[in-house]
Symmetry: C2
Subunit: 220 residues, 2 copies
DNA sequence: ACCTGAACACCGTTCAAGT
DNA sequence: ACCTGAACACCGTTCAAGT
């Protein structure tokens, strides 16, 4: 058994990740800086680089750590395949709704961390059981993912905007609509604010699933 | 007629916006800094603040300028309402595909600049003509918008990733899948890369439209 | 009225030196 | 082996001074 030599560590990866989660929760992606994180952990910014290659690796660590903690919801066994897809998508959205920064980190990968591959697996599995070829099932997953990522991002941005005091650019635009050119928007007027605050996520996934299943059975 | 006094301007808002567009095109949102922009225009960073309140206002200017230049596609008159929605959504996606930074700027507003309100108007109008109440038509527009924003962002990120040399995190994940736990993903294996490169945007909007129209006629 | 230089309060990251 | 201080090459923005 090799004896470790040298100075014993003051901080650990786990300390860093835990502190980073707290900052992310309280101040968002913007608020997470290496210097502030170091302060939270109780060292200097430079010490962090002993434990983490760079900020990108830290984000990946954060993602994996969160994904590992997300519980797998039990999907009731008597759902038909389409409803299983909807239930899995809603669960995925629920897992992301409090942590919109994750969507930024995920970016292009069309998927979450290793620990969250359960979501695509379930969605693809249910789609296949509904009679789709596996390729079409992957398309369904990706379409749902793009929709989910877009919805989460818009929701987070709307929440940020509501915290802002300044009058929205949007309000100014709606005050000056030409009803001749944009009759529907002008007719909606002040109701736009209220209508766009509604949670239509599930309506959307359900439409995607229904629409894709219908398209597939027509094509047969 | 009041005489203007003082030093004549060396640069204009138009110069600034034009230079900013070039930088955005060549280097993306990351590349646009006030100092670099000033260099491109031929002044100092601080001179920009005579013409633009701050970087946020500059982004809004950029957005409006681009939106004003986007041509309205003529939608053939003999499309049924559902196909009109699809055509408008595809046109909206096409207008955004080369300028993904716009989606970042738009953030929460669920819509583009004043000059691009034509898109929601057309989509809502077609949805209403297909027999939906206006509220449901707004929902349809928002669902399509979230899907579109998510797709554009993922597409841009995928393009960036392809430019990177380093082996993708995703590749490492797929090499170590447990087929017992994730049978579908394991079966897909190397095909994942190829399958997720496919353009499924139109399939997605079409499904959304079909699904929402079906849900509405069922409910009646 | 417009532009400039110096400065402020930040970033992520590197590197040589300390323990 | 780990941590620290000083430093580098950046940010957006302000402010007093110049033309």
């Amino acid at each position: 058994m090799p004896t470790r030599t040298g100075r014993p560590p003051k901080i650990s990866r786990a300390d860093i990740v835990a502190a980073a989660h707290r900052i992310m929760r309280d101040e968002g992606t913007q608020g997470l800086t290496m210097r502030k994180l170091a302060g939270e952990v109780g060292t200097t910014a430079m010490a962090l680089y002993r434990h983490v290659r760079d900020k990108d690796e830290l984000m990946q660590l954060l993602l994996d750590d969160y994904a590992a903690k997300v519980a797998r919801p039990e999907l009731s066994g008597d759902l038909d395949p389409g409803e299983r897809v909807v239930a899995a998508a809603v669960a995925m959205r629920d897992a992301l709704i409090g942590v919109p920064w994750i969507v930024e980190v995920l970016r292009a990968d069309d998927m979450m961390s290793v620990h969250a591959l359960w979501y695509p697996e379930t969605i693809i599995d249910a789609a296949v059981r509904s009679g789709m070829p596996r390729e079409a099932a992957v398309d369904m997953y990706r379409i749902i993912w793009h929709y989910t990522a877009g919805e989460i991002t818009a929701r987070a941005a709307a929440a940020r905007r509501r915290e802002d005091e300044r009058p929205t650019y949007r309000a100014a635009v709606f005050a000056n609509l030409d009803p001749a050119e944009l009759p529907n928007l002008a007719a909606l007027g002040e109701r736009w604010e209220e209508l766009t605050a509604r949670d239509t996520y599930e309506t959307g996934v359900r439409a995607i699933v229904r629409g894709l299943l219908a398209a597939h059975s027509t094509a047969m």
